[in-house]
């Protein structure tokens, strides 16, 4: 999963994953970094502080050429953390690999919002491994505007036992940007629930990728896992690729996934225009409403505000 990291650290371009690797078939990193940038000695700066309103914000500044960072975080049993991770844009063609570990104690709750704002020429991969404990709750939302190649992957080790994972996401892509959201949710024990809703919009020549794998291990009975990916294609030169997978080894489960790709609803567009809204404006309105549902599902109000502001910028990019 961390092919970029390996390639950067080993300074070996041949280690970059490409479309022949099943997990990277739509996020081909080969040939995107020539020459392979050198990882700077200094670890890229990370700002980490907690606001008065209780939101802990981590800002991952972009490296100048290439940066690799691994970081761990744990939420103690019974506690609640509201976490905002901002993956900041930098200048030009940098390469960045983030590997984040998050552990939740028993009954802990984590609200996490990831805002991935990479530069158009960047190659940026971030991988978060989350380990849940019984009774814990993860509520994560990833918002992305893409890069030359961008992947935001989350793996969740889910023990069942009353734990719940919500993995939401949205991507708003314009220009020639690419964004890949990948989730791997591993239901390892009985009595767990999960819900995922990913919405995406691809305009111009952009490419949106979603891969979601739900595994239900033998004995993980009573698992309820749901996953939905809906995407809008706004241009004939844009592309959406999706692969929602189910891998089920237990029989007493309810698992479902849905996946749709389509254009904006012509009737809704017509209606808006008939009320005097110019077409371009009407389109944006519909896109905003489509993505807006993701924001409404965010449990922590402070994160909702941050999400709205981020999406407003993303919509602005679609307008251009």
């Amino acid at each position: 999963m961390t092919g970029l990291r390996d390639a950067l650290l080993a300074r070996d371009e041949t280690r970059l994953p490409g479309r022949r690797d099943e997990d990277w078939r739509w996020t081909d990193l080969r040939g995107t970094l020539r020459p392979l940038p050198v990882v700077s000695d200094a670890v890229q700066p990370l700002a980490d502080r907690t606001d008065l309103d209780g939101v802990r914000t981590r800002r991952f500044a972009a490296p100048e050429s290439a940066g690799v960072l691994a970081l761990s975080l744990s939420v103690p049993a019974g506690e609640t953390l509201v976490l905002l991770d901002v993956i900041e844009a930098g200048q030009g063609a940098y390469a960045r690999d983030l590997t984040l570990h998050i552990t939740l104690g028993e009954g802990a709750t984590l609200h996490r919002l990831v805002l991935a704002a990479d530069s158009a020429d960047a190659v940026s991969v971030s991988l978060t491994h989350v380990t849940l404990a019984p009774g814990s709750t993860l509520q994560q939302t990833v918002l992305a505007t893409g890069a030359k190649r961008q992947r935001i992957a989350t793996t969740v080790a889910h023990p069942g036992a009353g734990a719940h994972a919500q993995l939401d996401g949205a991507y708003l892509l314009a220009g020639a940007r690419h964004s890949d959201q990948t989730t791997i949710l591993d239901h390892q024990g009985p009595g767990g629930t999960s819900a995922q809703l990913i919405r995406g919009v691809a305009a111009d020549q952009s490419r949106g990728v979603f891969q979601g794998r739900i595994t239900v291990a033998e004995g993980a009975d009573g698992t309820d896992a749901r996953l939905k990916h809906n995407a809008l294609l706004l241009s004939d030169r844009a592309e959406i690729d999706a692969k929602p997978e189910l891998e089920i080894y237990a029989d007493d489960v309810a698992c479902a996934h849905g996946n749709t790709v389509g254009a904006l609803d012509a009737d809704a567009l017509f209606y808006a225009m008939s009320r005097g809204i110019p077409e371009a404006e009407a389109r944006l309105m519909l896109v905003e409403a489509f993505i807006g549902e993701i924001v409404e599902r965010i449990g922590a109000p402070a994160l909702q505000d941050a999400a709205r502001a981020f999406l407003a910028d993303g919509l602005e990019a679609l307008r251009r």
């Binding site: 099943e22 004939d236 592309e239 997978e245 080894y249 237990a250 029989d251 996946n259 790709v261």
Partner: protein, 490 residues
């Protein structure tokens, strides 16, 4: 066994003289070497009296096959196949088999009884020694159809014959279409098939003709250590219609057997092909010993505008199934359908699904796949829906449902979607559930046994697909569903 002799003679009579000098006898005398090399390919080609171009085609396929690697991406596990340890020309290797019906495993007899296959046929189906081998190709249930109705079909202009005969009688058609849907080196197994394919059916329906009857072939593997590599080619010319049925069974053997077939369908303007399969190869015993490796490449090219291809498959057999009947929707307004029931029990593994490649404008596709896993089996739906930039107005609907019966089986769903047109609409939904306790309870309290209750509910689960099967097959398939799940309850 007088009755059997009757059947044998009837079949032989229907099949005509050709069968009296059936190739099997010839093979017995000139047995193809074990293993695969250019000599074996030349041998096969010579046996079939093939023209030079076809031999060259085979040899080229063999060259390419040598350079290919066996695919390993499917979710199936099996020991490495030794391709040099197989026979590539169906020369049945004689060994002491059961001498009469009494020696046949009663479990097998019971299975056939359940299938509704008449007893005198059972000897063929169980591979009993003593019955002439060409009749063992119980296949020839359907050859009789060929013979019986050949005149009538010919009157309509429909060509329906073995592929080897078509090579001789209609070389221009074969040469034009063979390998045009599944290219020689399309994949490892298709490439192997191209080199060594032995038999199969050829169908050509001329423009504007609605084929007056269902065409069918009943494939059967009977010999030990022999791979079967049939190749089917169906061409529906402009405005024509044909419905084709394919059935398969194999005897119980402890050894695994390889079946690597290729099916190519070509539908020209406004033509329609309906292709139904009831695949019931021997799945191996409860411990996973024996059974057929079913590695099949099936693809339809909807070449013409408004053409239509519909695949319906009921997959209950085979130790391992690796099969993705696909539609290339090239013609504007063409449509593809895929209806599938895959049932796995015991140690069976099935990795099956479809590909719908939307190339033309306003192309439509519909996928309904139902997977049922029981015992220690595993069933995977793997599918691709791809919409290319020119496929404006393309439409796809996909539904895959999996049903799990028992704690030790597995079900997977791996759908790929690639959309590159803003005016296309794609929908996919999938669910995985178990057989509901409430439903079972309800049905059982109406007086049905647990096994009957499961069958009833399962039949309800797969109803959408069964409805797509032609009548005769629907009945057979329904019974197969019952057979395959036997012993999986509790």
């Amino acid at each position: 066994m007088a009755a059997d002799q009757d059947t044998v003679e009837t079949v032989a009579a229907l099949a005509g003289e050709k069968y009296a000098h059936g190739f099997v006898t010839d093979i017995e005398q000139e047995f193809a070497e074990r293993g695969l090399n250019t000599d074996v390919i030349r041998f096969i080609s010579a046996k079939k009296d093939e023209p030079q171009w076809l031999l060259d085609w085979r040899l080229e396929a063999y060259e390419r096959w040598l350079a290919l690697d066996e695919p390993d991406w499917a979710r199936v596990n099996y020991p490495k196949i030794d391709y040099q340890d197989l026979y590539y020309y169906a020369a049945p290797k004689q060994k002491d088999g059961p001498k009469s019906l009494d020696d046949v495993d009663p479990e097998l007899l019971a299975t056939y009884a359940k299938l509704g296959i008449p007893l005198k046929e059972q000897e063929f189906l169980a591979g009993v020694q003593g019955s002439p081998r060409y009749a063992v190709d119980a296949v020839f249930d359907s050859v009789s159809v060929v013979t019986t109705f050949k005149a009538e079909l010919a009157k309509a202009g429909v060509i329906f014959c073995p592929l080897s005969e078509a090579v001789r009688e209609h070389p221009e058609l074969v040469r034009k279409y063979l390998g045009s849907v599944v290219p020689v080196s399309d994949n490892y197994f298709a490439c192997l098939n191209s080199a060594v394919f032995s038999e199969g059916s050829f169908v050509y329906v001329p423009p504007g003709v609605r084929c007056p009857m269902e065409l069918s072939t009943y494939f059967r593997i009977n010999a030990l250590n022999t791979g079967q590599f049939e190749r089917t080619l169906i061409i529906a010319d402009a405005g024509s219609y044909v419905s084709y049925l394919e059935g398969c069974t194999a005897p119980m053997r402890d050894e695994n057997q390889l079946h690597a077939a290729v099916v190519e369908l070509v539908a020209l303007d406004d033509a329609e092909i309906k292709y139904s399969t009831v695949q019931n190869w021997y799945p191996g015993d409860a411990e996973g010993k024996g059974g057929i490796y079913n590695f099949v490449t099936k693809r339809a090219d909807c070449r013409g505008a408004r053409s239509k291809v519909s695949w319906t498959q009921v997959e209950t057999g085979s130790a391992i199934t690796w099969k993705y009947p696909s539609c290339v929707l090239r013609g504007d307004g063409s449509s593809g359908e895929f209806y599938s029931i895959a049932i796995t029990n015991g140690r069976q593994q099935a990795d099956t699904g479809t590909k719908m490649i939307h190339l033309g404008a306003n192309t439509r596709s519909r996928i309904i796949a139902k997977g049922i896993s029981a015992g220690h089996s595993s069933s995977t739906y793997r599918g691709l829906v791809s919409v290319h930039p020119k496929a404006t107005g393309a439409r796809n609907f996909t539904q895959c449902d999996s049903l799990l019966i028992g704690k030790t089986c597995a079900a997977h769903t791996v759908p790929y979607v690639e959309a590159r047109n803003a005016n296309a609409q794609l929908e996919h939904e999938a669910t995985t559930t178990r057989l509901s306790e409430e439903q079972l309870f309800y049905v059982m309290q109406r007086g049905l046994s647990q096994e009957e209750a499961v069958q009833l509910l399962v039949n309800g689960f797969v109803r959408e697909v069964l409805q797509e099967l032609p009548m005769e097959f629907a009945v057979e398939a329904q019974k197969l569903v019952a057979v395959s799940l036997e012993g999986s309850v509790g």
